[in-house]
């Protein structure tokens, strides 16, 4: 009889562990989708701000219209798609914005424009929010992936079909590109 009690206790502990491990995986996975929607919100915000920037800059800039075209093109690439294509399009926009602001340096009147100043602050604010959202996303993915791979949670992850998630990649180029030279 005593033997049966022991088995029941061990079984109970195992079931308890499965519940705890399963829930922790769920929590982490929810955090990832939450983090992803944060990125999406900021990408959308930047997407909406860009036309305002273009229409403001257009009136002042004479020779360097190509940078504006680049920006328009990069913006149109940011359509609904896989994470990888979004990441690539986002990096393109970041680069295009940098060259627009670099060009703007040559136009004192544009730089003095209130609307332009406001947009510049908003866009660089959004830019850093995207970077932070990506950081939070990647951190969340990392802790989730570790949990999925590491024994013994890996058994539960396998049993309930928790798959490793993809990172939101920033290209190496973007990180070096901090110094803008004129």
């Amino acid at each position: 009889m005593e033997f049966i009690y022991w088995i029941l206790i061990i079984l109970g502990v195992i079931i308890l562990y499965i519940i705890v491990a399963y829930n922790s995986l769920i929590v982490l996975r929810t955090r990832i989708s939450n983090a992803w929607s944060q990125i999406d919100v900021q990408l959308k915000r930047r997407y909406d701000l860009i036309p305002n920037l273009i229409s403001t800059v257009k009136g002042y800039v004479k020779h360097e219209k190509t940078v504006l075209n680049e920006l328009t093109k990069a913006r149109s690439n940011l359509i609904k798609g896989s994470m990888e294509s979004k990441a690539r399009a986002s990096n393109q926009i970041t680069d295009a914005l940098k060259s627009v602001f670099a060009v703007a340096e040559n136009y004192p009147q544009l730089k003095a424009n209130e609307n332009f100043k406001l947009l510049q602050e908003e866009l660089s604010g959004t830019e850093s929010k995207i970077a932070y959202a990506r950081q939070f996303y990647n951190d969340s993915v990392m802790s989730f992936n570790i949990k999925v791979q590491r024994f013994p949670t890996s058994i539960i992850a396998n049993a309930f079909n928790f798959k490793e998630k993809e990172f939101f990649k920033a290209e190496g180029k973007e990180k070096e590109n901090i110094k803008v030279e004129f």
Binding site: R31, N34, A35, Q38, Q42, L118, E121, E122, G125, T126, S128, K129, A131, Y132, A133, Q135, F136, S140, S143
Partner: protein
């Protein structure tokens, strides 16, 4: 980092229990020595509970109004608000309310009970004297206080220290009044006198010990917030540079007081205080800079 939060939530409970025992012991000993009736203690306890509930739930507002902080608006402080929003995303917490404190000193603090009801306040000096990276470093430090539930620990500690000061004050006063009126116990002899002296000494020391516990907690949290702030910005040099500027900054912060000093990122009082070590609310700035630079 998330285990840090768990341990901080546990610490809150531990702290609370510790203080409760502390208060209980004081009340018990003092009661044993000086008073016969329990009515007085019960009344004092009820007042203390009401007082502490009010200060726990409106502590953040009290602190903000004590420092004359004004809510930042998007028009005048677009950059500040953007930076806080960005760091809130990085920390995975809701955006706290943002306040600006008048004054030229570079300083900042965070307050609240949990991330949902939290506030960050920075001085005008912060906005004028720090560059982008430095301001983000300071803000990240404050956001870490919020994310790690340090704000709750500190709020609890302040409230509990407040209760101890309140109770001991009442008891000391009523003892002195009672002593003046005179009672039967005065004929108790030498042992009685010794016990009374011990009781009085205890009453005088208790608030000081309570303050020291609070400061010790505050000092420990500062290092942790520096480290997890650096995790948010991924740029420890920003906060290190800001701390250097804070160190060489000689402006005063008139709105800071002893009651709010422990909340700030750096000690708002520039002068060295008596028994500096034990009563220091913040660890040595040089040491913090060194730790940040070695990350």
């Amino acid at each position: 980092m998330y285990s840090q939060i768990e341990s901080n939530k546990r610490n809150s409970i531990f702290l609370f229990v510790l203080f409760l025992i502390f208060i209980g012991v004081i009340v018990y000993i003092v009661n044993l020595l000086f008073f016969q009736g329990y009515m007085f203690i019960i009344v004092a306890a009820i007042i203390a509970i009401i007082f502490s509930l009010i200060s726990y739930y409106s502590g953040d507002k009290i602190v903000l109004s004590m420092t004359k902080a004004k809510e930042a608006n998007k028009k005048d402080h677009a950059y500040l608000i953007n930076a806080v929003e960005g760091l809130a995303i990085a920390a995975g917490i809701p955006k706290p309310n943002v306040y600006v404190i008048p004054g030229q000193q570079i300083n900042a603090f965070a307050t609240g009970r949990n991330p949902k009801t939290s506030s960050v306040a920075v001085t005008e000096g912060c906005l004028q004297k720090l560059n982008r990276q430095e301001l983000e470093g300071v803000l990240a430090h404050e956001m870490s206080h919020i994310k790690n539930y340090d704000i709750r620990v500190m709020m609890l500690a302040s409230v509990l220290v407040g209760i101890i000061i309140f109770l001991t004050e009442i008891m000391l006063r009523s003892f002195l009044w009672g002593g003046l009126k005179g009672n039967d116990r005065q004929q108790g002899g030498g042992l009685q006198l010794v016990l009374i002296i011990i009781g009085v000494v205890l009453l005088i020391l208790a608030p000081i010990i309570a303050q020291m516990i609070k400061f010790a907690i505050s000092r420990k949290r500062e290092y942790l917030a520096d480290a997890s702030g650096a995790m948010l910005t991924r740029y420890p040099k920003g906060l290190a540079d800001a701390l250097k500027k804070i160190k060489s900054d000689s402006s005063e912060l008139r709105t800071a007081s002893n009651a709010t000093a422990h909340l700030f990122i750096a000690n708002p009082f520039k002068k060295k205080q008596w028994l500096a070590g034990l009563f220091q609310t913040h660890p040595d700035v040089d040491l913090r800079i060194k730790k940040l630079e070695s990350m």
